[in-house]
Symmetry: C4
Subunit: 355 residues, 4 copies
């Protein structure tokens, strides 16, 4: 629970620092730059390095104190981000010294939840991706061989060996088309046309595999995450497991920053909300505060009437929202959930006629 706000602060800071550092590294390589600018950029790098050092030190201390349970590869990235530039500063000569700060490229990998997802997709689809890469390789060599045999007498300086023809083949097969090597004979041009179409086909196969893998993994991941969140809502614990699965599929998680308005009095709403973590305040004449397990905004689904009160987040809040259309689908397949929500809503309304 308490790890969430910390992550929210560190991840963007890390990204901004890394991006700034990399821009400075890039700028330092431009030839026509005054000594003063060069110094300023080096100072920027030094500052970022210092921040990383402090961050690492703090993390190691807190880890010792048992406050943070960080994964080992994340700490390893932090260590490398500090040590590599230090070693470069001590061992490498001036002009290329700053290039070693490019190791900060690894920093965004640290906190991202996308890279583990990507890793799982690539693992799941490894067999097919290797298959397509093999097809790519075979086509590439075959095409280069054919182009070499067709064009070697016409343009010996551009198609005079298979490696040269392969350069043309990869530029064409990926539809990059630099235009530095172009077949001139009729047969060569027919071949080139076929290569371009094959390139599009291989590309499409690749897209198909990644799209399929992505869809399956994302659907699975969403299910696992929502399942864990749903377990924290008491209302749902009265339901049988089959209904629970359907609810899990219908809910959409959302994180709201502290102070933000979640719904405004008088608006017509099309969703209700469940509080998973954090607290929200309902601006009724006697303001009410709701915590984990509470829900609000359900009248929008049942009667369609406008919001009866403004609700805003008092802390960072993790919510699950249930949209009107999903609620209707849910109710039609399992009437018990509709019944529970309706009954609880009416009870509450009886208790608080203003709310």
């Amino acid at each position: 629970m308490s790890v969430l706000p910390v992550l929210r602060i560190y991840a963007p800071l890390n990204a901004v620092l890394a991006a700034t550092g990399l821009v400075a590294v890039a700028a330092l390589t431009t030839p026509d730059m005054s000594g003063r600018s060069r110094l300023a950029l080096a100072a920027v790098l030094a500052v970022i390095w210092g921040v990383y050092l402090l961050e690492l030190a703090e993390k190691l201390l807190r880890r010792r104190a048992g406050d943070v349970r960080d994964r080992t590869p994340a700490i390893a990235i932090d260590v490398v981000a500090v040590l590599v530039p230090l070693a470069a500063f001590l061992l490498v000569g001036t002009p290329d010294r700053s290039l070693y700060c490019a190791v900060w490229l690894l920093k965004p990998l640290r906190d991202s939840t996308f890279f583990p997802l990507l890793g799982r997709i690539l693992t799941n689809e490894a067999r097919n991706l290797i298959g397509v890469a093999t097809v790519f390789g075979i086509v590439l060599f075959g095409v280069a061989l054919a182009a070499y045999m067709i064009e070697r007498d016409v343009q010996p300086q551009k198609f005079g060996s298979i490696p040269q023809a392969m350069w043309w083949a990869v530029v064409t097969l990926s539809t990059t088309g630099y235009g530095d090597a172009i077949p001139e004979s009729f047969a060569g041009r027919v071949l080139a046309g076929a290569v371009m179409m094959s390139g599009i086909g291989i590309f499409a196969l690749w897209a198909g595999i990644l799209a399929t893998g992505f869809y399956q993994e994302v659907r699975r991941e969403d299910f696992v995450r929502n399942w864990q969140l749903v377990a924290a809502v008491p209302l749902f614990q009265k339901l049988g497991p089959a209904t629970l699965v359907e609810i899990v599929r219908a809910l959409r998680p959302r994180i709201v920053p502290a102070g933000a308005v979640i719904c405004r009095k008088g608006e017509t709403g099309d969703q209700m909300f469940f509080v998973v973590e954090g607290r929200v305040s309902v601006a009724t004449p006697n303001p009410v505060e709701l915590g984990p397990g509470a829900f609000f905004g359900e009248m929008a689904l049942i009667t369609g009437e406008p919001r009866s009160a403004t609700v805003s987040a008092t802390t960072v809040v993790s919510l699950l929202s249930l949209h009107s259309a999903d609620f209707q689908m849910l109710c039609s397949s399992s009437p018990e959930i509709a019944e529970i929500i309706r009954k609880t809503a009416l009870e509450r309304r009886g208790a608080a006629p203003k709310g």
Copy 2:
């Protein structure tokens, strides 16, 4: 209900006006143009501006009268489309004055239903799209660094700094391939080949994410829209909610302009229609007019016989059509719907043996 025909008139007019205006803006920037043509184009811009002014004035008046409930951002676009060219005319010098009419690019955003859809997809998939953009950025910087180190001695004027190498990297990674910077060393060309393949992979990942997001959002949106339309058909209100969900999934909405023929006597049909809004006329010996909630063409699904009468739209009509194949799927999973349609159809036939 009454907002539909108005939208139908304004949206295309807006698109045509905006397109004409933008063509005029583009044409005004061509250097070799006679003063007379220049004047004519400026007049076109002035006329369009005038139309926009009138449109805005009318909308503000009607809004005051409470006739139109327009969304605030839409009105904001209308105001900006009038004020920005006016300000440019008053404050900016001659040659660039007309460029400010490019603000009319915003006009098509006003009435489109696609942009909100696109917005929702991008919001839903934000995490993954940011992830892919991060991968793109990391690969871009890494590749530029590698290319800089490999090629900086061979081609100092093209790969002499990381920003220069980055230009090559982005042109290659996106498989654009201008051909202005091309690696010459063997290692550089192997790197370029790997970059092109990575570019295709990133592209494919992007396509996979957008395809997945698009599919989910469109399926959801179709459900919501059809659900609202189905609520207007009395026949369906006898059915339980589970059956209703299946019907909603099977129906396809369609808008028919006034005067158009919907089905022609003697043709073999493969769909029946439900009127949601507007009126249709059935050309039987005693012509009949059907309004919202009525249905026709059902014999095509039940007996497969040719259409017994021509039906045409007397007003703009919003229909739901049920195709033969979908009807068969529907009947097999919930026989009650088949029963209802069959019974009603036979009753009607008994009442009107010609129809």
Copy 3:
């Protein structure tokens, strides 16, 4: 039924004739060609035109006799394919006369089942495709405007007007990258990088829409076609509609040319077959011939034993095949189908212990 073999003959002939004709048209435009070759190519065009004339005449005659029920647009294409070259021959001067034979491009549209499918997809997705095209247009104009303002002073001959900048924008946004116009300023290059990434995104959106539309329409079309074929198999008519829908989803249609072997004695098979149209002969000691509605190869699914006899097609046969894996899925969800197939198979085996 009898229309099938005729189509099988005409469609490829049409494609070959049209392709030959178009190659001849293309060859006739090459400048360095002897008068003799030119004459030969003209003769080829004349012959094809003659064949098309005969085909049209025969079709019109048979249509009059009521033998063929051809769709009107198909006949219209046949008429145009004859009349346009004739008119060009009579009215147009020599060099460009043959170009009018390019109207034969329409011929492949005539018999294809893919083009109606494509048409339905484009119609279904029209709203989204127009939306993406609008996004493309807006981005194109916006980018051209930005490039014009950034680069007009640096390269007035290439970015001196919005239309010129638009040419660069479309070449870059589609990642074609001719390399004839390349931004030189730093801001221009950053813009170009953003444009390439947007281009990839728009492309991906396009792919996502078409993939979604394609998947839905193909699934629907397969269902309709299989449903019609299944209606011809007596065995299945004992089943309830819900089971029937599942069978329709599991079967895969296949057309086998006359004389081909469908399964060979002693092989291990993983599918059974239903005859929809045509006849097959089973090479048992007393050869048996099976017609529409019969099935064979079912022991492969039930006992997994090798094929007990070779079966070959005596006419063009239209089959439905049921694979082992699909059969197992089918049996688990509706045991009655398994029961029917098993019982019928064992009865038959009792009656013919060799078969």
Copy 4:
């Protein structure tokens, strides 16, 4: 069963050999190479050829002995890989002799499971792929004709005939964009813009078809493979077929090399494992060995407690893993499976309180 480890050894060896050979073939075509390097590369080719000869001889011998049941096309590839270079060595002159070793490109096709999958997808989608290729062809010819008519007077040396215009059209339609032929007239540039957009559309259609076909075929293939593996697990044989189908869908196959650790004591696990083939050893105080049909790691799913023992593979093991999220989905839809696993787990725990 025994064929598995052999395949594991041969397939990567074959790939490495073929890749090495092809690199040598490519290197031999580079003009500026010393006689010594040339000799070394020829020696590499000879060695690879020798290995292939030995491999073929061994396979033919073992095949005679009935040890290996290899498919005929696989043997045919082995024979061709030996005979073609031999024939080239005997019959062809020096410089091009080594090119014939390019026949080794076929070797990776031999053991891959991806190519049969690809073949099935292309067969299933043949009709649609041919349809898109036809669209491509028609657009290509139409565009070339238009470009020829627009640009032939402006650039007779580049658009002077339809074949020349077609070269431009294919380079543009595939978004390759070499930049060797670029329309100069205004109409030509508008045409080019439309061509680029069409190219993207055709590409997207292609991707949509392949993605759809891929998804369907992979899902089907996974089902068949898992079904066969599940048949070897006794625990599951108590279940009804409907439940079995759901389990098959939830399980994920995995092959673990001999000696590898499958789960480590004290870790929190999120999956349980079923042994399909091979043996694993459980490092409890009295080490236990489990064989085909056994399962372990189930407490992770039921109580969520950390692994109670380290499990490692003693032979190459084929496992099925059941993830926590999939288990929850499974339990909610068919409580009997949860019951069976829970009961068996608790019995085992009672019998072995340390395990």
